[in-house]
């Protein structure tokens, strides 16, 4: 198992490294500049209903005139780039086994060793979770540093953990769906294509929700319906969203392990 986990880590380390640096910079830079100009920014946003709706769209909540500095910086956790990086990493790492191995022809070498397919898949899943966890911790750390200039207005660490945890569970859902597609397909495109389309659909529906009523109706069919950073910051973690995502993930992983045991790997 250690050897398989090392192989999975060797495959993921470069992307994890680059994304870690990118996400640290992003979360720090989105939070840090608000400190010195927080009152001006808050006044500016409160004077603009459109901007309020934009922030509400990013945060997945109804502001109802209750915009605070804490919620403003919390927008970092709903930033499209952050979501794209986390969900994108989940897709890429899940596509490595078996889809990418089959596509690039490494599968013959890997499975000529005395290892079971389920074991290889398990090693990849564990390493992907570890990498995703690391990326979330890096983002959390950089966000906390960026919030230091806010002083008393900064979100507390206890408020940040549910945010990171909720995003982590959303990324796990994406990883489970990608793992299932990877176990059924033989190319990375077969994994990434449908999930990128679904991710974009989720973002569009999620961000249009405050502006278009029809988007609210179809929102449960998108991923962002179950990840609402603003609501978490305002009223704490609502368990139903992560529970739905974790339930689906468990089902997808179960199916993936079953499929990979039985399929032809060519």
């Amino acid at each position: 198992m250690r050897g398989l986990a090392r192989l999975a880590w060797l495959q993921n380390r470069v992307l994890t490294g680059y994304l870690g640096v990118g996400l640290a910079l992003l979360s720090f830079l989105l939070a840090a500049p608000i400190g010195p100009i927080k009152d001006g920014v808050l006044q500016f946003v409160q004077d603009s209903p459109f901007l309020q709706k934009m922030i509400a769209a990013l945060m997945g909540m109804d502001l109802g005139g209750a915009l605070t500095v804490k919620l403003l910086v919390g927008g970092t956790w709903g930033h499209p780039f952050l979501l794209a990086c986390m969900l994108g990493f989940a897709i890429v790492s899940a596509a490595r086994f078996p889809a990418q191995e089959v596509e690039q022809g490494h599968i013959d070498l890997l499975l000529s060793a005395p290892v079971g397919r389920s074991r290889v898949l398990l090693a990849h899943v564990i390493v992907a979770w570890a990498c995703l966890g690391l990326l979330h911790l890096i983002t959390l750390g950089a966000f906390w540093l960026g919030c230091v200039p806010l002083g008393a207005d900064a979100p507390r660490v206890t408020e940040m953990f549910p945010l990171a945890g909720s995003l982590f569970i959303t990324a796990i859902w994406m990883h489970s769906a990608a793992t299932l597609l990877s176990c059924r397909g033989s190319t990375r495109a077969a994994v990434a294509g449908p999930l990128i389309a679904f991710g974009l659909w989720s973002m569009v529906v999620g961000y249009l929700r405050p502006f278009v009523h029809a988007a609210e109706v179809v929102a449960p069919l998108g991923l962002l319906h179950y990840y609402r950073p603003g609501t978490i910051m305002q009223s704490g973690l609502e368990w139903w969203g992560p529970t739905v995502l974790l339930g689906c993930s468990a089902m997808f992983y179960g199916l993936a392990f079953r499929v990979v045991r039985e399929r032809d790997l060519v």
């Binding site: 050897g3 495959q11 013959d108 070498l109 000529s112 005395p114 060519v266």
Partner: protein, 294 residues
């Protein structure tokens, strides 16, 4: 019937299809322990599918497959501890070097294979520090061979192994195969090169359209293969030439044709005639195999 304890690989009525395309149909094969066994056939005949079924990469639709006394699909993990496999066009992670690959696969196999691996690298003139992304196809194939041989497998499965090897490496490869068979290993190799099979194998199966159409000792096949014969007479060509001689060219003093089997009767007949020159080629294996292919 070969006793089961002497059998390394046994396929019985195996069927495998990919959608509408039938890859193997009622496929039967028996490979005895300690043999170098050649699987010969044109592209798309089912050779690689056979080897992948053996490795448990594919699941047969029906039939029985056993290797080293174990079912290939159900016990593939246990089986692969004793099998070494080299694919036709070995693809290895481009960021690895041979040394790193040996360390990684040592960890995966749970046995330190670095030292014997480096000895094999040296014999094959493979630089241990060269990244796979900078390797030629031949060097990649060498690394694949090192990884297939390093754990001293009882069954060596090689899919068109020498494609990409230069003649020097081919001779090292032949030595390595010979050493392994002396140690008691069985070698099953697929090829579409007659010369490779002729040089290495003791037994051959010819595969065509997913079926084994002939399986025999190479010596037997050689014996059945035709030889090219040219006889030049002092005078006119006699009319009573032996029945086994299939004439292809006939002139006033010269007779050309093909002869199958033991050449004794032909030489004897020539001795009775006033022959100026007699030329008999070695058995035309290529032609024999091509006959099966058609």
């Amino acid at each position: 019937m070969v006793p089961l304890t002497n059998v390394s690989v046994c396929f019985e009525s195996v069927h495998k299809s990919f959608g509408q395309r039938i890859a193997l149909d009622d496929f039967n094969l028996t490979v005895e322990r300690g043999q170098v066994f050649g699987l010969l056939g044109p592209n798309g005949a089912g050779k690689t599918t056979t080897l992948r079924l053996l490795l448990g990469l594919l699941k047969a639709d029906s039939g029985q497959l056993h290797a080293l006394g174990r079912p290939c699909w159900e016990q593939s993990v246990e089986l692969k501890k004793r099998i070494g496999y080299l694919s036709a066009d070995t693809q290895i992670y481009p960021w690895l070097t041979p040394l790193e690959a040996l360390k990684l696969f040592s960890e995966i196999r749970g046995d330190d294979l670095t030292a014997p691996g480096l000895i094999l690298c040296e014999r094959l003139s493979l630089e241990p520090g060269l990244r796979v992304r900078h390797m030629s196809r031949g060097n990649r194939q060498k690394l694949g061979l090192v990884l297939a041989l390093v754990h001293r497998p009882e069954l060596l499965v090689l899919d068109e192994p020498t494609s990409g090897f230069d003649p020097l490496v081919q001779s090292v490869f032949a030595e390595l195969v010979q050493e392994r068979t002396i140690e008691g290993a069985t070698v099953l190799l697929s090829s579409h090169t007659f010369e490779e099979v002729n040089r290495l194998c003791q037994t051959v199966a010819i595969v065509k359209a997913g079926k084994v159409i002939v399986q025999d000792a190479l010596e037997e096949l050689r014996g059945r293969a035709a030889r090219r014969v040219t006889i030049v007479f002092q005078g006119d060509v006699p009319e009573d030439y032996p029945a086994g001689l299939e004439t292809t060219t006939l002139s006033e003093h010269k007779l050309g044709g093909q002869w199958r089997g033991d050449t004794g009767p032909l030489v004897e007949w020539c001795g009775e005639k006033s022959v100026r020159d007699l030329e008999i080629s070695p058995p035309l294996l290529d032609d024999a195999f091509l006959e099966f292919y058609r």
